[in-house]
């Protein structure tokens, strides 16, 4: 029951260098990293393929220089990819006329930036209303709408302030409010919390999840912080040297990392935060008494207290399919203790 694809990125390349333009033409096979290097080019994004579904939080994770920022800018066509297609609701952004692209950006896309990118000469209210002003919406209407989103991100009362009068966290709330003002369908967040203190960062992540629970946007979220990715993502794409090396749910990443590089990231992640009851359960009908039921999609972290407190196992329920297995105290304790003899 997969949702429809919102953004489909096919074979996208971004090469930097003088000879970048003709380099990919007339090639039978994909150029290797060595060939690109030999041609004096830098392969910032190499053959990226991702499909982002309606309403999902898709995180692109990579260390600095891995090409994640370049990729998201290709997806938004802030920079022109060297080759490939980016289909937004089935239409290729890269071959679209400027006028049409402007229309889509005005109505259907929003973006939040790492360093907030607030306009220094405008107040909070004017900043948030700015995208509406650009569309030519009248003052009364756009300010009413702006007040709504400012309220939504918890900044009511600060409308007349200038960005420089706000803390970093508050500034990013303005950035978020501004990107939501037009009611976008596709929401890009480019390392939105990286410039914030760790405590504020956590608070903003919670805020972000709260907003998403309300709004159900399709989200492309860039981060270099694996913990953040695990916490927020429905699916994660991991990038290294311009290549997407794995696209998977957090749980799949932890259970079966595609390479040593990915495994290195997942090693210090507490398993309880990632694994679901479905992964840990003993499948098949439950014999004997149970202490209660947990949902198959529940994370171990969230059910641990209940399961550990009980002598009896819990039944694992998967929506319409009913009880599909059971989960016991022993299995949960092993996960919590970090004993890894299971996959």
């Amino acid at each position: 029951m997969e949702k429809p694809v919102k953004l489909d990125c096919r074979n996208v390349w971004k090469l930097y260098g003088d000879a970048a333009d003709g380099f990919l033409d007339n090639r039978t096979s994909e150029p290797t990293a060595e060939e690109i290097h030999a041609a004096g080019l830098i392969g910032a994004v190499r053959n990226a393929n991702v499909r982002i579904h309606d309403g999902e939080i898709f995180v692109i994770m990579g260390l600095s220089g891995s090409g994640k920022s370049t990729l998201v800018r290709c997806l938004a066509r802030l920079i022109e990819p060297t080759a490939g297609e980016v289909l937004f609701e089935g239409r290729d952004l890269l071959r679209m006329a400027e006028k049409e692209l402007i229309e889509i950006r005005r109505k259907k896309m929003g973006m939040v930036f790492q360093h907030f990118a607030l306009l220094p000469h405008l107040t909070v209210l004017e900043n948030v209303a700015f995208p509406l002003e650009i569309q030519g919406i009248g003052r009364a209407e756009r300010e009413a709408r702006a007040r709504e989103v400012i309220e939504l991100v918890g900044l009511a009362g600060r409308e007349a302030y200038y960005p420089r009068e706000l803390s970093g966290g508050q500034q990013q709330r303005v950035g978020i409010a501004r990107s939501l003002a037009v009611g976008p369908e596709l929401w890009f967040l480019d390392e939105p919390f990286s410039a914030l203190d760790p405590l504020i960062r956590r608070e903003m992540q919670d805020e972000f999840l709260r907003l998403q629970a309300l709004l159900h946007k399709t989200i492309v979220f860039i981060t270099h912080d694996f913990d953040e990715a695990i916490r927020l993502a429905d699916r994660i794409a991991i990038m290294q040297d311009g290549v997407i090396i794995q696209v998977a749910t957090p749980e799949q990443l932890v259970l079966s990392p595609a390479s040593e590089y990915v495994a290195e990231f997942t090693r210090h992640i507490p398993r309880a935060k990632v694994l679901s009851a479905r992964t840990l359960m003993r499948a098949g009908p439950v014999d004997g008494a149970t202490a209660g039921e947990v949902a198959a999609s529940d994370r171990i972290e969230d059910i641990a207290a209940r399961v550990v407190a009980s002598e009896l196992p819990f039944g694992v329920v998967d929506g319409a399919a009913g009880v599909i297995g059971s989960i016991g105290r022993q299995a949960v304790i092993e996960v919590l203790a970090g004993i890894q003899h299971r996959p």
């Binding site: 800018r73 005005r106 973006m111 000469h121 650009i134 007349a160 302030y161 420089r164």
Partner: protein, 669 residues
């Protein structure tokens, strides 16, 4: 021979001493040697070989004014159109500030409305001061303008202010538009850059000449010259400010769906506002500087007062007008800086929900005062025009003071002057004056080649050749001599001051304030005290040039020393350096690239000032430009102006190249 050249160029140690010794020999004995060889063309450029460039430029200008036709309109109509466009707001500003509005012509004119009263103008500047920063600034600018009225400089000052009020918006807006164009179209930027370089090195008088020719001897010509002079820094600041807007802000604009126009005007330009305001501040200061200079081609105002009283040797009056210029410069500078600062730090206004009048207290006050004083002025003239009996004049006091100084300290000043002239200025003059053009071009080429390879050699050689083929070599050498002497003295004073202020906080404050003031003053003002004490001539000119060109030497040296990695100095200290060793072995060498850049700026300022000192009787290229100006000979003026610019460009390229060398050697790049 080739071995000799190889030794000369590779072995850095010998290059300069050998070159200097050879040049000295040529300078001293060259003339006799050439005579003995019967080859006088070696030392004196033959008149028959001169390029007829001067005449051709003059002819071309004549053609432009008399005959040029663009189909729809002639060139003359174009210049008249521009005059008309500038004249209307200018007349309005003059009427509003000083002359009153009149209907009709000449003696039939009927006044229909008076100008703003002096009280209204002062209240307006106080209001701006308070709005832009605080009461202290308001008091400062209010005090400055009160000085103008009390000391009887009001009328001239308002004429000058009217020119500034017209030239600044046009210059700033023009600079902004050109800067945006250069930002958007890289090709335009590449074309514009060398033009800007040239415009900033050609001395101002040089383009007064063609402008005078095109627009006539009047205030509009002065305004056009002022605008052209003040625009380049605004263009540069605009492209720079736009380029330094963070990428994310630009991306935000694109992602919001801005059209190109919206992106520029709603996102980039406002975000770049603090940088742009710095540009506007520069435009204001340059405008004031140029309005003063341009007073000699019909702008009138304070500059005209200074010039006429200097010509009469009426030191008191000149000094009073000069102080008025200084006072006005300080007021305008502080005010525009405060506005720039405000754009950067403005906070939200708690009175946002209050009524219109409360929110715009100052605007309402100014309008009310203007209306009230205008009405009251009809009954009590003193409200409209500051009454003459209440004016204070310090003219006689200054005249007496100068007389006293000249009577009692004449010997000391004279001894000082003679000493420097005899042991420094004249030998340098003799040395440079004796260098034959052939040798000089050779030396410039060689030096260019040493620092920047054949490319730079071609440039420096070619530019010096240009000066020679136009028959200006001897005059150019006089300019080089005066400039060189002034730069050496300015550096000898400025670099130690800079090093001192970098290492001592108190010295820094005092020197900083001194230098700030020096930099705010229009170049014209420097002439007054110098002429007072040393009369006219090379020496007086040199002192004026040294004062004018001192600032960059101090600034760059201080900056260079302050920017040295503190670990280097610590390394020196733990190695047991004495303070003197620390300075000589560590600080000075490491600050050398910056000091060289400062030297570069010092040379630029010195050259531009040298043209102005032609007013007090220096010879050389400045005099040539000045003569062209009085004769309205465009060709002559342009060629002489270009020659000054070329000297500046040669110095600039060689010094920049050597600064790059120094940086590379120190591993700073």
């Amino acid at each position: 021979m080739s071995r000799l050249i190889a030794i000369l160029t590779r072995e850095g140690r010998w290059f300069w001493p050998v070159l200097f010794a050879a040049t000295w020999l040529v300078s001293t004995y060259g003339r006799d040697a050439a005579r003995a060889l019967d080859a006088r063309w070696l030392v004196k450029y033959p008149a028959a070989w001169r390029l007829p460039l001067k005449g051709e430029i003059s002819t071309a200008m004549d053609w432009l004014v008399e005959e040029a036709n663009f189909g729809l309109f002639t060139f003359r109509e174009l210049t008249r159109g521009i005059s008309w466009l500038i004249e209307i707001p200018y007349d309005f500003a003059r009427s509003a500030l000083i002359e009153g509005f009149e209907r009709g012509q000449g003696s039939n004119a009927v006044e229909i409305a008076p100008s703003l009263s002096w009280i209204a103008v002062i209240v307006a500047v106080v209001a701006m001061g308070h709005y832009a920063r605080n009461w202290r600034l308001a008091a400062l600018v209010g005090g400055c303008f009160a000085y103008l009225v009390i000391f009887g400089q009001w009328d001239s000052a308002m004429v000058t202010l009217a020119s500034v009020l017209i030239a600044v918006p046009i210059g700033a807006a023009g600079g902004l538009l050109l800067g945006i164009a250069a930002y958007r179209w890289p090709l335009f930027d590449r074309i514009l850059l060398p033009v800007l370089d040239l415009m900033q090195t050609v001395p101002v008088f040089a383009y007064l000449v063609p402008i005078l020719f095109l627009f006539g001897f009047n205030a509009v010509a002065a305004l056009v010259a002022t605008i052209i002079y003040a625009m380049p820094p605004m263009i540069r600041m605009t492209t720079l400010a736009l380029r330094t807007v963070p990428d994310e802000i630009r991306e935000f604009g694109v992602m919001t769906g801005c059209s190109r126009r919206q992106l520029i005007w709603k996102v980039l330009v406002p975000s770049a506002a603090p940088g742009l305001m710095v540009g506007v501040n520069q435009v204001i200061m340059l405008t004031l500087n140029m309005v003063i200079i341009a007073s000699m081609i019909g702008a009138g105002g304070l500059g005209y007062d200074v010039l006429t009283s200097l010509r009469r040797l009426d030191i008191g009056t000149a000094l009073e007008a000069g102080i008025a210029i200084v006072v006005m410069a300080i007021a305008l500078d502080r005010l525009s800086q405060a506005f720039a600062e405000r754009a950067r730090t403005e906070m939200h206004d708690p009175a946002l929900s209050a009524g219109w009048i409360r929110r715009h207290r100052w605007l309402s006050t100014v309008v009310a005062v203007a209306a009230a004083t205008t009405l009251a002025g009809l009954l009590v003239p003193a409200v409209q025009t500051y009454p003459e009996p209440m004016m204070i004049t310090t003219g006689p006091f200054w005249s007496d003071l100068v007389r006293y100084i000249n009577v009692n300290f004449f010997d000391q000043f004279e001894a000082f002057k003679t000493f420097l002239l005899w042991y420094f200025l004249l030998p340098v003059k003799r040395f440079l004056g004796g260098v034959p053009w052939t040798w000089g071009i050779g030396v410039m080429t060689l030096v260019g080649w040493r620092f920047g390879g054949w490319r730079l050699a071609l440039l420096t050689g070619g530019l010096s050749l240009f000066i020679a083929v136009n028959g200006l070599w001897p005059k150019a050498m006089i300019t080089v001599y005066l400039c060189g002497v002034s730069v050496v003295i300015a550096s000898a004073i400025g670099i130690p001051l800079g090093v001192l202020s970098a290492s001592n906080e108190r010295a820094n404050r005092i020197v900083g304030a001194f230098i700030d003031t020096l930099q705010t003053l229009p170049s014209f003002v420097y002439l007054i005290p110098v002429v007072m004490l040393f009369r006219v001539g090379d020496f007086a000119a040199m002192i004026a040039v040294v004062l004018y060109a001192l600032a960059p030497a101090v600034r760059y040296a201080a900056h260079g020393v302050r920017n040295i990695d503190p670990q280097m100095i610590e390394a020196g200290i733990v190695s047991g350096c004495t303070r003197w060793q620390l300075l000589r072995r560590i600080k000075l060498p490491l600050a050398m690239p910056e000091i060289l850049l400062g030297l570069n700026q010092t040379i630029m300022l010195a050259l531009s000032m040298l043209v102005i000192t032609a007013l007090v009787g220096t010879r050389g290229l400045g005099q040539e430009v000045y003569i062209a100006l009085t004769k309205a000979d465009s060709g002559r003026g342009i060629i002489a102006g270009l020659s000054v610019a070329f000297i500046a460009i040669i110095a600039d390229r060689i010094l920049s190249a050597s600064a790059r060398h120094a940086r590379a050697r120190l591993g700073l790049e």
